[in-house]
Amino acid sequence: MDGQTTIWRVETKTRASTAFAILAMLAIIAGLGAPIYLPRATLQDLFFILTMLALAQSWNLLAGYAGLVSVGQQAFVGLGAYVMFAGVVLLKLDPLVAILLGGIAAALLAIPAGIFAFRLQGAYFAIGTWVIAEIVRLLVAQWKMLGGGTGTSLPASATRHMQGVDLAHRLFGFRPAQAVDVICYWLALLLAVATIFMVYRLLRSRHGLALASVRDNQEAARAVGVDARRLKALVYLASALVTGLVGALIYVQKARISPDAAFSVTDWTAYVIFIVVIGGIGTIEGPIVGVLVFFALQKLLADFGSIYLMVLGLIGIVIMLFAPQGLWGLFASRTGIQLLPVRRLLRGGPIKN
């Protein structure tokens, strides 16, 4: 000590995270330009990966950070998609506006759904969310103007004239059908990046600290003034909004909807859970790793139908039993590398480190 005062600092930055931030920037720029140099089929694969990633991030925020294990996320995907359809087919809105409407509708649904499901503790919350999804599915199946139980299609003219298609056509010379895919892809990229950024910012804020404290010890957290219920409600709402937006976007691209598909527990919740569990629950990097593994498995095994789902289920069970921190967790605990660190590190002070 030579009379100099050294100050303690709380940081989350690590060397790996700085490098990753630069790489991520480059990847986003490369991703934005992808429609120019990648074929349409690859773009559709990327669309699938990005939308699943956004869904996985929002479920991970719910289950991994807020301890709210929902198996009813298909309620928000389905409602978001159906309200988008209603906006386009019945109100003649631009699909982009209708996507926003779908997201808002999902967030609005989360208010009564939350009031209801939050009455159920722990594991029963899971089945409660499933019941909500069933109720919404059965109600939507009564919506005769949108095809009832059999569903309906988006008129091709609606998406052909949506915002941005004309621009993409003039800038890059894409044909309208191709331009629709490109716009959907850009939106998926935007949603996925925004979701990751939102989750990251949230976890690094004081709300994130509060969430972690609730997860580690709810009573102790309450004792220091953390309102666990309000926090959890906020997370539930935010994840419903994201899930609804993604659901609406997916169905702009699919252009064909039915209650059974839009409210499918397999497509919108089981896949998402497996992505997060395989990649690593409770980390932001986990779902990114998980979605890549999931996509690779799907490419390899998709032809086998139900065997594919069995394998996915078995992998999920094995990981949960023997490596509950998932692939990313295994990697991070061996190497100490964190790409999107949310853990606060104490640096500086009299001890040189």
Binding site: G67, R119, A123, Y124, V131, L139, V265, G316
Partner: protein
């Protein structure tokens, strides 16, 4: 619409839901484990009985007697080798493992038996009915209800008047202290899940003889079972029967008004009960 008939059918249907729910309730009561694969295990048992009936040409009730110990074994193995590893303060592992199991069972059955509708033939019992005044009651629905009452009587007797039941209750209250008294919690849990699976076999017989089934109907049975348990109040088996009856009546009355509303009416009854009686009608457990 014949109200008396509709209500009677609803009550009898409630017996089936109480059977679905009894196993779920038992397992939750003893180890606080919610098995998301419960419905798929019911469907698995239905296929097991169907295979026994088809290949050995057995009477379905004889097939049930064979299926019950098999299901007990499956439950015991499942608990010993898989579910016991997931128990702990964190609710994520049991939920995610049983959810994975649900997906594996569903798709395994799809792979083995295709998505075709199946039914367990029960001979003349399929159509047999008894007349009470102007009401006609099917023998199978009546048997279902009687079985539900019998299962609950036996379970209550088991829980409150036997050494095993004392071990169940002690482990439920405090597994660590029960361990000090010479009870091995994990073995107790394995027996409990085994018993739950024998009840699952009973419910599967009635599920399979009363209506068509296919590999994908499991999750809906889980939801009905869950609704019956919550409406009845956690920790009370008679409450679960009442919960099942409310669900059954809501469904038959809804279905009588408009066939498309049958399932929806049951869910709405559940939501209403949860809003006005959050702890159900006969809550016993504190948590």
């Amino acid at each position: 619409m014949n109200w008396a008939d509709t209500i009677l059918q609803g009550i009898l249907l409630g017996g089936l839901y109480a059977l679905f729910a009894a196993g779920l309730s038992l397992v939750f009561g003893i180890m606080r484990l919610v098995n998301l694969a419960h419905g798929d295990l019911i469907v698995l048992a239905a296929y097991l009985i169907l295979v026994l009936v088809d290949t050995l040409h057995l009477n379905p009730f004889v097939a049930l007697v064979i299926a019950m110990p098999i299901m007990f074994g499956i439950g015991w193995l499942l608990q010993t080798y898989v579910l016991n590893r997931t128990l702990g303060p964190d609710i994520l592992p049991p939920l995610l493992v049983t959810f994975g199991l649900s997906v594996v069972l569903q798709n395994g059955l799809l792979q083995a038996y295709s998505a075709d509708n199946r039914r367990i033939p029960s001979g003349y019992l399929d159509t047999a009915s008894i007349s009470i005044g102007s009401l006609h009651v099917g023998v199978m629905p009546l048997l279902t209800f009687v079985s539900a009452v019998a299962v609950i009587l036996i379970l209550n007797r088991l829980l409150y008047a036997t050494e095993l039941g004392r071990a169940f209750r002690a482990t439920s209250d405090d597994a660590v202290t029960a361990g000090l008294m010479g009870i091995q919690p994990h073995r107790t849990f394995a027996i409990a899940t085994g018993i739950a699976m024998t009840i699952v076999a009973v419910s599967a017989l009635y599920l399979g003889t009363r209506s068509n089934f296919d590999p994908t109907i499991g999750p809906a049975r889980l939801i009905y079972a869950f609704e019956a348990v919550i409406m009845g109040g956690l920790g009370s088996l008679w409450g679960t029967l009442i919960g099942g009856i409310i669900l059954g009546m809501a469904q038959t009355i809804g279905g009588a008004i408009n066939p498309e509303w049958q399932i929806l009416a049951g869910h709405i009854a559940f939501v209403l009960v949860l809003l006005f009686r959050p702890r159900g009608f006969f809550p016993r457990a504190v948590d």
